[in-house]
């Protein structure tokens, strides 16, 4: 049910009235009923009854008993002495017995006992209660050899604190209700804020999506028109510019979706995505290779070193990733993660492109344990100074001070990679590669079926 303003106001009024009523009743009982707050038989009354019974003739005694009998008190006489034991631990009987003894002492003292009445369903326990009344059975041995038995029924009007039965429960309930109402109201406000925020974010993403679509339309026209530039070098540059623009646009769109938690969630074989991304680069003649844990590492390193040497001599080499993922005895590790395929491809693409642009080569390796999969990207460049590793993960921060685009983009690549990785519950960190270049490690949690 939605908590509309009217419902809230209604609840507030009902609760206020209830609390006001309970408060008034409490005041009334505490002030006016304070003097006669105990409906139990007064010890003096019992003592007087004892005296009266002992003094009156046997014919009158039934009348005396009739005279004192009321809704809350019945008295009868039993032949012989049947005095019980006043329990020492129950507060009400103990106090009543003490008062009774004082009065009886005035007429010479009588054997007596005060117990919680079993007959009337009085509870055991400590004889101390807010909520339920205590029925007492008083026994006094008369001088005539008989026993006066008085059953004092405590009607549930007020308890021993002089307040109506259930008062504490009612008050507690009302206070809890009030607190709950306040909490609800607070939460409703927070909910409204969240709904509004998510509407805003969605609207922004929709706007970005619309812009992206239109820009792509323009870029498509441009891309087709660029073909008519006669100078081949100019044409290639223009095509590269279009690709860069597109890359930037996709980065911005993906990063904003990641920030809004709007990424798709599907099961993705991470190693396969890495392989696909590398194949694209490898096919373009870039120096990229991949090692998957579980494969024979020694064999890979040998081949890789030879490959690197060959690359240095010839200047250009293609290292096809499929050859570098050797068939091994151990099964390939499970690298299934829950995430957005496009976003993950973008992370890998940004890291590999960075490594190739600033570090001449990208050496990738994938490692998986039972909880996470790691992708390590090493390059052969100058590395990243330790004091700049945090900063470089921020948007628009680049290692070179000049923001010329000759060597790269706007400084968004790593920032986008980080926001995407973090949206997947993963981490990204920068360290030194053993070969001297930079090492970027991406760690993603594996999907665990429940």
């Amino acid at each position: 049910m939605r908590l509309t303003a009217a419902v809230r106001i209604g609840l507030v009024i009902v609760l206020s009235v209830t609390i006001a009523w309970i408060g008034t009743v409490a005041l009334f009982y505490l002030s006016t009923a304070g003097g006669t707050r105990n409906t139990r038989p007064l010890p003096g009354q019992i003592a007087a009854l004892v005296t009266l019974l002992e003094e009156s003739s046997p014919e009158l005694r039934p009348w005396v008993l009739r005279a004192v009998t009321s809704q809350t008190l019945t008295a009868r006489l039993e032949p012989g002495l049947h005095i019980g034991v006043t329990p020492r631990l129950q507060r009400v009987p103990r106090l009543t017995a003490r008062a009774l003894n004082q009065y009886l002492a005035a007429v010479g003292g009588r054997p007596n006992s005060v117990t919680v009445s079993r007959e009337h369903g009085g509870q055991g326990g400590l004889g101390f209660s807010f909520a339920t009344p205590v029925d007492l059975e008083l026994r006094v041995g008369l001088a005539t050899g008989e026993t006066l038995v008085v059953d004092a029924l405590s009607y549930p009007v007020i308890n021993i604190f002089g307040l109506p039965v259930g008062f504490a429960a009612g008050l507690t309930g009302a206070v809890i209700g009030l607190i709950a109402l306040l909490a609800l109201q607070r939460e409703a406000a927070v909910n409204r804020l969240q709904v509004r925020l998510s509407h805003l974010v969605r609207a922004r993403i929709a706007l970005l999506g619309g812009i992206s679509h239109d820009v792509r339309t323009f870029l498509t026209r441009l891309r087709l028109r660029v073909e008519r530039i006669p100078d081949e070098e100019e044409r290639e540059r223009a095509i590269a510019d279009i690709a860069d623009m597109l890359h930037l646009l996709d980065d911005a769109l993906l990063a904003s979706r990641a920030g809004a938690g709007e990424l798709a969630e599907e099961l993705v074989d991470f190693a396969q995505v890495v392989r696909a991304e590398i194949e694209d680069r490898g096919a373009a003649g870039r120096r990229v290779d991949l090692r998957v844990a579980g494969a024979t590492a020694g064999g890979w390193q040998e081949a890789s070193a030879a490959q690197i040497a060959a690359t240095r001599q010839s200047g250009v080499a293609i290292t096809l990733p499929r050859d570098r993922v050797p068939v091994s005895a151990s099964p390939p590790p499970n690298t299934t993660v829950l995430g957005d395929r496009l976003a993950l491809r973008r992370v890998i693409a940004n890291l590999v492109d960075n490594a190739l642009t600033y570090g001449n080569a990208a050496h990738l390796s994938i490692d998986a344990d039972s909880e996470s999969v790691s992708l390590i990207v090493d390059d052969e460049g100058p590395g990243i100074p330790a004091d700049q590793r945090e900063a470089i993960l921020e948007p628009f921060v680049r290692l070179e001070d000049s923001r010329n685009r000759r060597t790269g983009g706007a400084g968004l690549g790593l920032a986008v990679a980080r926001s995407l990785v973090e949206a997947h519950g993963g981490t990204i960190s920068i360290a030194d590669a053993p070969s001297g270049g930079a090492r970027v490690t991406v760690k993603l949690p594996l999907f665990v079926a429940r």
Partner: protein, 237 residues
């Protein structure tokens, strides 16, 4: 049919792209027809049969996906999809539409011509009746006959609602589906926030699938209230 004599129909709402693509194809010696939306395309199809259709995904009125599905049933020319959204592509060429290839915008003319030639070389599509039978783990599901058999060839009985739900998962395998999405696809409306009936159907379906393929754990729950078919779905013979 020789390649150069082939006629290509372009359906694209952006006039400039339509003209540029047409020019590229004309230079390569193809015959070109062009339409800006579905009615225009139907008018051309009424008088001529192209050898290939280049179809933009986002069109005013009837969109590319729907055109694709409509044509697949009774046309045999191959369809090349143009899309500005790279993330929709795997669905387009996926299970149901019948597109033969795709290009993500922006694309270069050489790329376009290469795709077109490759598709024409493969020739008209051999009309295979669309069979919607899939292997899901150890189960075999026929979406049209609405039947499921387990590995021992024993039939698994599902209620209509449970089968609709399973079909929904099979058409989007390994993807997290939220309660809202499931409600929209199986009943055409968003469920009430307090409506637990989808959760109940999911849990009944899970119980039945677990009984049919013990230990496979085909459908799992994901942290923020979504469900996921964990296995790969492959077309079955």
């Amino acid at each position: 049919m020789t390649e150069s004599a082939a006629t290509i129909l372009i359906v694209e709402d952006d006039a400039a792209i339509r003209r540029l693509v047409a020019e590229v194809l004309l230079v390569e010696g193809f015959g070109v027809e062009a339409a800006e939306d579905a009615p225009g395309m139907d008018a051309i199809l009424a008088r001529t049969r192209p050898d290939l259709l280049i179809l933009d995904l986002m069109l005013p009125g009837e969109d590319g996906l729907s055109i694709c599905r409509r044509l697949y049933a009774h046309e045999r020319f191959p369809i090349l999809i143009l899309s500005a959204k790279s993330d929709e592509i795997d669905r387009v060429v996926g299970l149901e539409t019948g597109a033969d290839d795709y290009l993500v915008k922006p694309f270069g003319p050489r790329e376009l011509v290469a795709r077109v030639r490759a598709m024409l070389r493969r020739g008209p599509r051999t009309q295979t009746p669309v069979v919607r039978r899939f292997s899901v783990g150890s189960l075999l599901v026929d979406l049209d006959a609405r039947q499921i058999v387990d590995e021992h060839n024993a039939s698994v009985t599902l209620t209509s609602a449970e089968f609709d739900l399973l079909a929904c998962f099979i058409q989007r395998p390994r993807r997290v589906l939220t309660r809202d999405q499931i409600g929209k696809w199986t009943r055409g409306r968003m469920p009430d926030p307090l409506d637990r009936s989808i959760d109940m159907i999911v849990s009944r379906l899970r119980r039945k699938l677990d009984a049919a393929s013990p230990g496979a754990n085909l459908i799992t729950t994901v942290r923020n209230g979504g469900y996921l078919l964990t296995v790969h779905v492959t077309p079955a013979p």
